[in-house]
């Protein structure tokens, strides 16, 4: 049992270490990506134009048209 717990602990430790490293690297980065598989040219990220955060979608709850306000 203690061996299994050690494995769980080590896995969590690696995850925390990796995510901390990623946070440090990405926080100081320009928003570009690390792609490390093969020599193919990386395309621009399709959901991002520039570094600005995407605004919330105005029609947040589904795409149905909003009904008229009942107390008009």
């Amino acid at each position: 049992m203690s061996r299994k717990l050690t494995v769980v602990f080590l896995a969590m430790l690696v995850l925390v270490g990796a995510m901390s490293l990623k946070t440090v690297v990405v926080a100081h980065g320009d928003g570009s990506v690390i792609m490390a598989n093969g020599g193919a040219p990386a395309p621009p990220v399709p959901w991002k134009n520039g570094g600005a955060p995407a605004p919330p979608v105005p029609w947040k709850n589904g795409g149905a048209p909003a009904p008229p306000v009942p107390w008009k």
Binding site: R3, K22, S32, A36, G38, P41
Partner: protein, 232 residues
Amino acid sequence: MLGPFECFVWLLCTLLEAGVVVCAVRTRSFRRYFLLNVYMGLSFLVSVGRYTVLRHSGVDSLEYAYFYFYSDALLTIGLYFALLSLYSLVFDEMKAERYLRLGAFLLLGATAWFSYEIVNQSTHRMLTHFAFELSQNLYFVGLVLTYVLWGAIFKLRESRTRLIQLVLALGIYFSAFAANYALRNLYPNLQPVWHFVTPLLGCILPATWMFAFLRVPEEARLVPARLAVVPR
């Protein structure tokens, strides 16, 4: 539009990926390093697929972008399992196979969950975001795991030359991409240089693994440092 240099490096990288599998088969090491060869074979197929999509749709097209990021997530998962197969080889005498498997799946599951929690904030194109985020997170997990494995090799005084070379190559590969990323952000004005350097880094892993399979025999051993005998 791709220039001749990018095309040449991409072709070279693809040929090296196929070369790794060919050399492993030729030296009868395919089964022993099965997951490494599966990863390299998959990389070769993905390169061919990416070229086909790029030729039909162009480098700035959505089709190429989606194919690229989904295939990258698949390859990163493949690389993760290839790395874990190296763990199995290093720890095979300790009979820790069961614990390694448990740790591997736990870590992969936790990374996937972490990636999901990040993309859960933005529901727009969630699946694509998830594939992208998982790929990035697994890259960093792989980086940390490679350094841990290198530490274990030192501690256990591993002497199998080919195994050491395969792990070192992986460490250099991960570190080179991380260093490239850091330098790119430190010196953004050197963009023309990074434009040439980044694709070349992709050739490191297939080139070094091919060399390891081709030139380093399986039975080759490194001589551990001897203890100094002080005469009294």
